[in-house]
Symmetry: C2
Subunit: 154 residues, 2 copies
DNA sequence: CCATTCATGGAAGTTTCTTTCATGGCTGCC
DNA sequence: GGCAGCCATGAAAGAAACTTCCATGAATGG
């Protein structure tokens, strides 16, 4: 799967992960290949899906999304239909950053960003517990973001 | 805080969040301003910290990090020193994508990426439960990633 | 050993970047 | 109302980077 990546490809991936706006010229110089080759390599990494996207990481606090909340969700029934309906509904909620089906005491774990606690209380009451099939939610307010969305090591 | 952002700035932020490699020329055309102005706007967004970084999102499955695990952690003692030591130690573990201090039944929530369950079991035994002050961990294997690291809405 | 395939770097035309500069709008103070 | 200062804007131009084409050489397979 990753077998087709040589040392140069890995370098490019890591550099672009740290700085997605690196110019092809700089990239080429850093990995010690010609700009033409570097361009082709990078293009291939995109085409083959190694790089899913390049994203500007907007600072949450700067856009009034400084409050992070983790929510555990338990559904009424553990049927495939129940899961599918829930997942379909959650995909429309733009404040949900993560939604993962897990094994354990919960069915789903959510990671949510809002402006403040008041924001969350409104959203919780109006949108979360109103999701189809939700029996129970458990809210974990994040008091300190020690590590948030660290770059992938590979 | 976000008061200094006008409609054009917000457009630029959203466009760069969706595609961090958009050229300044394309960006300028889309938001209907001149390339020169667009360049200055974008530069300011970086300088003022609205864009913390631009990152290539590497596909986890493509680099043998396809297994996602959420872990709840409880420490022996809930003292500031205990927390500080734990956080210092966790920052060195590169497979930890998120680490958040939360209010509730756990002290910390971790989001971890590994190659497979076997990988995780080794890491759990050798590194997680060995972290300073850890009393208990609860592991939630992710069976399906419904939404992972969605772009921020603002 | 030969033929094929593939990745590579140089070169060149095109595009883009980035700075400079003059213009015009806005604000605040007479 | 009028004026001065400040700031953002777009045009322009030189510099830099992108992207494609091409010939070369290494690696693979028969």
């Amino acid at each position: 799967m990753a077998a087709r990546l040589d040392r140069t490809d890995l370098k490019i991936l890591r550099l672009l992960q740290n700085n997605g706006r690196l110019s092809n010229a700089d990239l080429a110089e850093t990995v010690a290949i010609s700009p033409a080759t570097c361009h082709r390599r990078t293009q291939r990494l995109f085409e083959d899906g190694f790089i899913a996207a390049v994203r500007a990481m907007v600072a949450p606090k700067k856009v009034a999304k400084g409050t992070l909340v983790m929510v555990g969700v338990v559904l009424d029934r553990s049927t495939p239909e129940s899961f599918a309906i829930f997942e379909q509904a959650i995909a429309k909620l733009k404040f949900v950053l993560d939604c993962h089906l897990v094994a354990g005491d919960f069915d789903y774990f959510l990671k949510i960003r809002v402006g403040d606690m008041e924001d969350f209380n409104r959203i919780h009451g109006e949108q979360l517990i109103a999701l189809p099939g939700v029996r129970q939610t458990r809210t974990f307010f994040v008091m300190k973001e020690v590590v948030d969305n660290a770059p992938l090591e590979f």
